[in-house]
Symmetry: C2
Subunit: 191 residues, 2 copies
DNA sequence: CGCGACGTTGATTTGCCTCAACGATTGTGG
DNA sequence: CCACAATCGTTGAGGCAAATCAACGTCGCG
């Protein structure tokens, strides 16, 4: 798989043979638009690598509101990390924004690969470090920026998603109601 | 160092010899109460392991407000992860809440140890995974819980810190002003 | 066509912030 | 050991950003 090779190669050197070893542990899967890859109270047995399409992960709070944690366009990994590493039921939903092709890697196979192929443990160590930086950054921004500033940041970071995504989901990601995002945008055109 | 051994042992098996290899790469340091270990615009060359005392990491926004990301009591690691892995100037401050003893490990030495001692890369892979889970969880809670609920969560998670820490810092951690936290607590006694 | 999800707009409410004043506590130098 | 400043916590009045609730137009889709 071209994209997987390319994605690994950003952080480690990997041969075709080694890639084959990894691919032998992965399973193809497709998820159609609006269908679930994972629901709360399930155990996330797999991490998913997105080949084409797009997924999102989110939680649903006690009032029924969705809070989107992550979008996963092609070349990204996504899972419920808590559930994946603890092997306990999680509280995240993952579903498809568009028809999506995936490669799945179970935690068991991942850990086996870490022993067989230490490079791969290095790869995931690096990817996890970067995800942590990202998550902490977002936390800071949610604490220190206004809704308008968070929207601008979103537009800069995901310029491609803006026109694709229902506005509702952008609102959920930046942490405001859809109504308020709509009002911000209309004031935008005046100012 | 007893505590370091104990902390590693939670996630990996490590011999005394291997511990010595690690310790040879680490440097002792003490930071007195209210003194900085790191300031914004500096490069975080080191990750710090807290032996005794307590550190905190935080950012300061454009309006001069502090937002605390993490407390690090004994047995915890702390650094500006962005700066540490990218070797660029960061935007976090780290200072001591109490007089604190540390063991420092530079990124360079850490990476060297990953090659010498793959176990250690595994250890940090696991610790980083857990930190990521933690950070994501906190993000969800900031988006979905009220200030009162976040304070209750804080009390449950850090019962020891509540009486030690200035209220101002608890407020900063849960994302409200000190005044508002004070008002919540007084209403608490009535309801 | 007709239904259901989405986006818009307006009136109203509210959670939390801002600013200001005032004790209480801490710590520091004389 | 005290005087004083500095920081912290408390309380109150008022303000604002964003939520809530509700009504309505629109679009994609079965």
């Amino acid at each position: 798989m071209e994209l997987l090779l390319h994605t690994f190669s950003k952080h480690i050197n990997i041969t075709e043979q080694e890639l084959t070893v990894v691919l032998n542990r992965m399973r193809k899967k497709t998820v159609k638009k609006k269908q679930y890859l994972l629901q709360a109270d399930q155990v996330a047995k797999d991490a998913a690598f997105v080949v084409s399409g797009c997924l999102r992960s989110y939680s649903i709070d006690d009032n029924g509101f969705e809070h989107i944690l992550q979008f996963a366009p092609p070349g990204w990994w996504i899972t419920d990390m808590f559930s994946f590493i603890s092997e306990q039921p999680g509280n995240l939903f993952i579903d498809a924004i568009e028809n999506t092709e995936l490669l799945l890697l179970s935690r068991k196979d991942q850990l086996a690969l870490f022993d067989e192929l230490p490079k791969l443990e290095r790869y995931f160590r690096i990817v996890t470090e970067k995800s942590l930086v990202n998550s902490r950054q977002r936390l800071v921004e949610n604490l220190s920026l206004t809704a308008k500033e968070r929207y601008e940041r979103f537009c800069n970071i995901y310029p491609t998603l803006i026109n694709t995504l229902p506005q509702k989901q952008i609102a959920s990601f930046i942490g405001v109601t859809p109504e308020f995002l709509s009002k911000m945008k209309s004031q935008w055109l005046k100012g």
